[in-house]
Symmetry: C2
Subunit: 343 residues, 2 copies
């Protein structure tokens, strides 16, 4: 499991390569929700999402281990692929991105724009895994030096990604002068949630962290394409510095999420996330429209979910005055926008 | 004509009521244009446009003259109406907004949301002027105190609006540590251009200011609804501290603009604006899509025009390294977005 120290190392290492994204106050959301709200605009990050922070950290840490590792393979329908492509090319390495057929051409062009190599394949999971494994072993065979592997696979819930995503939480706390008493993060693929929770609790242990999730499965989620491990239900209670009560609570949090988490991400979530706020598809779409029309920001599905979680005024948030909301990304096809705002 | 001192007074007076809007660097625009670019995000201003700065200054200055003035009448299809409604209600006064039929219902609802009173009337200019005059005189008759007029008309190119809009330029220069050597402002209704030019030249006299304008008439422009005065061609050359050469140049600038300017705005533009960059309708729409897809910001027509002026790499900008672009506003109907990005 990554530690707060890993997050701070990632913060220091990735700073030259990522934007410090702005935090924007929203009077409209405050008016509707009753909370003072700070929007952490990761949609304004390079490549349009938080993923770059993780991708950058992954490449930097890998390079620190061995400079000769020059190939990074990822499976993604979008954001993670973009991030790995740009991160790899920033260090003269190559990002190999396996993309299922159903992903649209805009993604393919963008990945190519960031000097990534695109490998399209069928939508079946097996086919993608096979292609990925082939890419990893091919690149190891052809560019092996002194028996060192020159190619690595970027697992979507990798520890270094989680630590990299955490840098978003560090920035958010610094930019709000530690004023926040709760942070709402889209559950998304789990790694963002785990990273931000780890980071903000590391900076201010009594801040509450909530995961926002939509009842319906997010069709744009990258996650289903990556290999996942079921939640290890027993592990959350293993920490001896936590009472059994807390451990039980924590295990419940990870189980409430729809996204399957690997052991590390689940452990992070269990230890640091206080609860899950569920929203309906309609609430998410209303929030999407709200952010466009009131906040003038282009955001994606998961960011809208986090905003919806606050706008619906759930009881679990009622005791908090200053809430940070993570706008995870903004990669949305412009032509789809009206459709995304309607049920 | 407003002075730099007026702008600084407006800056001080309006600060508690307006957002300091973020300045965002754009790698993508830099890549395409070859300039380092700072986007001044007035689309993130309250009410969604720069107009609030002017409206607020107008109400504050009016109140300083006479606290008993409690009614503000404006003609607008959108942004100015929203701004006057919110500014008036911030000081327990009433904004009366005359709106032509063709304006959409979203605007009407928003104005009502900011406690403004909406008066719909025909699209004919005469009808609007008549209704406006009636509103002004009615409110003066009913609430006159000691012979003092209690109601004023907010002319879209009023000096106090211009000074208020200038505060945007002050912020921009402060936020960029005076690094900018050129600023591109949408010509829009003239007052924004005049105000920003006045402000940035006040802070750094050798910064260049360019007006961006689309060849086709902006159909959403408020201006055609307001009373305008033709450009007084002689006036620009009257300043004795300018050489005849410069004066002649200056007069040309105001004449190049499609928007009719009143005497003050024209004088400001003539004195402080260095040139006009024209873009085509298609370039504007491409820029619109660019800002959505790359910068994840919801912007309106005039903001897209300013971005287009930089993306088209005109010769007049070639000598400048650091360019500020004013994203004037973001009030766009979400359902219209795909249409606005296409020719």
């Amino acid at each position: 499991m990554p530690t707060f120290h890993d997050v701070m190392m990632a913060y220091k290492a990735t700073r030259p390569y990522v934007h410090e994204t702005p935090v924007i106050a929203s009077n409209s959301i405050q008016q509707f929700s009753g909370h003072e709200v700070a929007l952490k605009c990761e949609n304004l990050q390079r490549t349009g999402s938080y993923n770059l922070r993780g991708g950058m950290n992954f490449v930097i840490r890998t390079k620190l281990l061995d400079l000769s590792i020059n190939h990074f393979v990822a499976q993604s329908t979008g954001n993670l692929g973009l991030a790995v492509a740009l991160a790899a090319s920033s260090f003269s390495a190559t990002g190999h991105i396996v993309i299922p057929k159903r992903a649209n051409d805009v993604v393919v062009h963008s990945i190519a724009h960031y000097s990534g190599k695109v490998y399209r394949c069928g939508d079946a999971r097996d086919e993608q895994m096979k292609l990925t494994q082939k890419l990893v072993s091919d690149n190891n065979n052809t560019s092996k030096k002194n028996g060192v592997n020159a190619c690595v696979f970027v697992h979507p819930q990798d520890d270094w990604l989680i630590a990299g995503y955490g840098t978003l939480g560090v920035e958010l706390m610094l930019q709000t002068d530690g004023r926040l008493d709760a942070v709402v993060v889209p559950a998304s693929e789990g790694a963002l949630l785990a990273g931000v929770a780890l980071a903000v609790k590391g900076m201010k242990p009594n801040v509450a962290v909530f995961a926002a999730e939509c009842d319906a499965r997010d069709p744009n989620s990258d996650f289903e394409d990556g290999p996942v491990v079921a939640v290890n239900k027993g592990e959350g209670g293993g920490d001896q510095d936590h009472s059994t009560q807390h451990a039980n609570n924590a295990v419940d949090v990870a189980r409430q999420l729809r996204t399957p988490l690997n052991a590390t991400a689940a452990k992070c979530v269990n230890k640091y996330v206080d609860g899950v706020i569920k929203v309906t598809e309609r609430q998410k779409r209303d929030a999407f429209r709200f952010v466009y029309e009131r906040c003038k920001l282009v955001v994606d599905d998961s960011a809208a979910t986090a905003v919806a979680a606050v706008l619906t005024r759930p009881a679990s948030l009622s005791q908090y005055d200053h809430i940070g909301i993570v706008l995870a990304g903004g990669n949305v096809d412009l032509d789809d926008i009206p459709r995304l705002a309607r049920l």
